[in-house]
Symmetry: C2
Subunit: 141 residues, 2 copies
DNA sequence: TGAAACCCTGTAGTATAGTACAGGGTGTAT
DNA sequence: ATACACCCTGTACTATACTACAGGGTTTCA
């Protein structure tokens, strides 16, 4: 039975990260400095498990550690000037919407590719390149 | 008027990357070694502009350079064993679908946050943390 | 023909996000 | 009381993706 207190290694195991990463996040300010035992061992709680899972999830969405720090600041309530929060969240939303559109169009081109691939045995005109080759070309004039 | 041939700096400008990046991509194999002038200057064409735009777009979707190299190999037709192509494209699709789901759920929580924020002047219970804190916790038994 | 603008190579530096020791201390179980 | 698992700090190393020189050659255009 756990005494409700976790050592670094236990936290690492529960959150699915490794020990060094926990120390690294502490250095970077994503985790605050924990209470220590008299011997100097870090003592964590379930809160840190959640926080690490939060970080892991946000990372899987493509957020950088500094963006995650902002999100955590919102979540912690340490940013509570409403305008600031809205600005951050709205910027995030813009970015997310852009990513969603790109991903959706790539998804359909890839789906087409896979379908075509299922029918023909070699690819001669691939739709991916046409799709991804479109873009704002800086014309030099 | 262009003679249809681009120097490194011109290509860079047109594709919206910088010169060093072009050389870097050549080193990494994302661009093949171009024809040179007698003086050793690289000579590019419109194809390389498209290729760089392709790379830029793929990067904005979160693909790494090595993944982009795979995509380019498909696009180039240099991978044309149908099974290989399908495997790569399907793996990509899985990944994209996962990212889409994560982004969609984050989008809705962020949208809620922004809405709440528009109504209240400070945030006391933020939905982001609940949303992103959910996840597979490795239970130690 | 000479100077400005551009290109070349090679190497080193930056930022991000960890990962891997070395050398030493702590906790606990037998 | 001692061995083993585990923790500590600090530092160095890795990978990815560039970015920035230094020192020198090339093109172009007046």
């Amino acid at each position: 039975m756990s005494r409700n207190v976790l050592k670094t290694g236990e936290l690492a195991k529960m959150a699915g990260v490794n020990k060094e990463t926990i120390r690294f996040y502490e250095q970077k300010g994503l985790l605050s400095e924990p209470v220590r035992t008299s011997g100097g061992y870090r003592q964590y709680t379930q809160n840190e498990v959640s926080r690490l899972i939060f970080i892991r999830n946000a990372k899987s969405l493509g957020f950088s550690l500094s963006e995650i720090m902002e999100l955590l600041a919102i979540a912690d309530g340490s940013i509570d000037r409403c305008g600031d929060v809205r600005k951050i969240a709205e910027d995030k939303l813009d970015h997310i919407n852009t990513q969603l559109h790109h991903l959706q169009s790539l998804k359909s081109t890839l789906t087409n590719l896979v379908d075509q691939c299922a029918q023909t045995s070699s690819i001669h005109h691939c739709p991916i390149i046409e799709s991804l080759s479109k873009g704002t070309q800086q014309d030099e004039n």
